[in-house]
Amino acid sequence: MIRSMRVYFSMLVRIIIISQLVNVSWVYAKGNKQVVNIAYLTQQQKPPTILSNLDPFIDNKGEPGAELAIKDNDTTGQFTRQSFVLKKFVVPVEGSVVDIYTKSIAGKFDFVVLNLPAAQILEVADLPVAKQAMLFDVATSDDGLRNAQCRNQVVHILPSRAMRADALAQYMMKKRWKKWFLVVGTTPEDKLYADAIKRAAKRFGMELVAEKIWEHTYDARRTAQSDVAVFTQVDDYDVLVVADEQGQFGEYLDYRTWNPRPVIGTQGLVATAWHRTHEQWGAVQIQNRFKEAAGRWMEEQDYAAYLAVRAIGEAATRTKSNTLKDIKGYLLSESFALQGYKGVPLSFRSWDGQLRQPVLLAAPRSLVAVAPLEGFLHPKTELDTLGYDQPETLCKRSTE
């Protein structure tokens, strides 16, 4: 009796072990996927002084874009036995981005999405521990980072200031608005934007009839009517081009100029990678999917983070690999073609790591045009009529 009990018991144990083995092998099969790890690094921002209460401050621009892309990558991954993991690092306002990179990212992640200002991107890129990684700049439009200060392992997703200015210039040329009045804010970024506008004016043979710096009070809600009218009494011009990246005064120019003239630039008609008025080429679908997931409209950085993570996913799927060498090689190759809801495939410029893409020209509630505009020709691709083309680049990038 006891013996039979023992046999029974040992059988039971065996059954348990076998069932666990089966269980383990099932987990293994499930976990047997090729994993692609992606880090997302950003720093919290202090909310800026607000110009009006119309638009709420968004403190997570970029993040939901990266998350949506991971979801899309994973949906594809279920058919290719690949899995994509996003690890987010949000550095507090007073924290150090470099410390977090060195401690938590270096050596652990080959692909790092950076939602940081230009200076910090450079700091991270110049860390010796960051040389063996591919860095995706999803925040800056800085032409310096794409020229003299370019780094081998960095690619830039958003259009540069030069690309934006060229896009606006193409539109102004089409409209024959050839005389420009440039109004510039006082921040260093405003100056960079103005530089890009001046470069475009030269490129497209436009005339800068006046240039002024806006130094008036920023809380112009009460005084704009008189200030702007006086400020805009300059030689006659066709269009006012404003350089105010933080939006401190640009919104006050329209309808208040001395002569009735359209406003374009950082306000009025803007050049942007993404806009809520954009609905063509399947864009409605991603606008809807994003809104459902994030509870707000997709912003430029969200779009950029989405594209960065999707680019990694696309390369991983095509190369069936998760290694830096294969994925980077594919991303920078001629075969790479990313679907970005803009009607043409997107790819990287080999000379500066800039994502080649159409630029949207949008008014607050309507999409006005998409650059490159018809008629602006280029021997290779019309997309390269925007920004620094290969012969103009100051970037010395090794093409290893």
């Binding site: 899309d72 949906t75 058919f79 290719t80 679908q285 095509r318 679907q339 043409v344 691709t381």
Partner: protein, 321 residues
């Protein structure tokens, strides 16, 4: 003698009369209507209000029921194909755009783009019987003529999924070029043709191995490669030629279905999107979304013979004999 010639003329006119008795139905996305075209005279006979944002369109195998996806009403409507009286609604899921019927016409497969799903509908019961998880943004969908496979193409995953009609489950996947749009089988169910909008290519897949056997590039003189965005496909029943709508390139490519050479490009209207044969496969009808017209291509002479204004944003096309 005179009598026989008279008879011949009468016969010919009767024959051509029969041959041309077809009606061409065009969904007009922005007019919320269906345009009905008589192709001989080349006339828009009438426009019937049909529902908000109509896109995908198909006829039942007996040509009695017309199915139209009214995207902004989140349904697929059934109409009497003679009277255009609404017969019922099918539970398509949100924002239906494209769908496919099985050869018997008792099952419908719908792409749900926003949810990454394919919904299977039992038409007789007007019920969704299954939802199949597919890749991101499924769009193009078709059923093989032998009823073995449902193919769903997902635009962002860049894959065609092979769904077994017996199990309603994915049996295989084929990775294709970026942004696959339309999928179409040859009449013998041996080959699957897939257009990729972003890459500007047509891919031929062997239905047995699920492997790509050929990738075809299009190049039109004077048109930048970015404008070549292949969408709709039709292939003739003898597998002699296939026709591919090239979207904003404003052309239909004529592809030799034996050698896979592109024989010629026919200039039609702006942003040509979907295609349909006449029942005798002597003519091809194309919907041109931006120029708001329908082009008629005579397939014997391979020339565009007519273009007929139909309304705003013509999208889908179906032909009733």
């Amino acid at each position: 003698m005179i009598k026989s010639r008279y008879l011949k003329v009468l016969l010919v006119s009767m024959l051509s009369g029969t041959a041309y008795a077809e009606s061409v139905f065009v969904t007009l996305e922005k007019d919320n209507a269906l345009g009905i075209v008589e192709p001989v005279e080349g006339k828009l006979i009438k426009t019937v209000p049909i529902g908000v944002r109509p896109r995908g369109i198909a006829l039942s195998p007996d040509n009695k029921v017309l199915y139209i996806a009214t995207s902004d009403e989140n349904t697929i409507k059934m109409f009497d194909a003679e009277t255009f009286k609404e017969l019922g609604k099918l539970p398509s899921g949100d924002d239906p755009e494209t769908f496919a019927l099985n050869p018997k016409g008792d099952r419908m497969y719908v792409s749900n783009e926003d949810d990454s799903m394919v919904t299977v509908i039992d038409i007789a019961r007007k019920k969704a019987v299954k939802q199949i998880k597919v890749g991101v943004e499924p769009e193009g969908i078709t059923v093989s003529p032998d009823n073995s496979w449902v193919i769903s193409a997902s635009e962002t995953t860049n894959m065609v999924h092979w769904i077994d009609t017996k199990t309603n489950a994915i049996a295989d996947n084929t990775l294709v070029d970026p942004r696959p749009r339309a999928v179409m089988f040859t009449a013998d169910s041996q080959q699957l043709w897939v257009t990729s909008e972003m890459a500007g290519t047509l891919t031929i897949i062997d239905a047995k191995t699920k492997q790509i056997t050929k990738n075809i590039n299009f190049a039109v003189q004077g048109v930048t490669p970015e404008k070549i965005q292949p969408v709709g496909i039709v292939i003739d029943k003898d597998r002699k030629r296939g026709y591919v709508a090239l979207g904003p390139a404003n052309r239909v490519a004529v592809v030799n279905a034996q050698t896979f050479e592109v024989e010629r490009y026919l200039l039609v209207g702006q942003r040509v999107w979907n295609l349909a044969f006449s029942p005798d496969q002597k003519r091809l009808y194309t919907t041109n979304g931006i120029s708001n017209d329908l082009s008629i291509i005579d397939l014997d002479s391979q020339t565009v013979t007519k273009s007929i204004g139909v309304g705003t944003y013509p999208w889908g096309v179906a032909v009733k004999p």
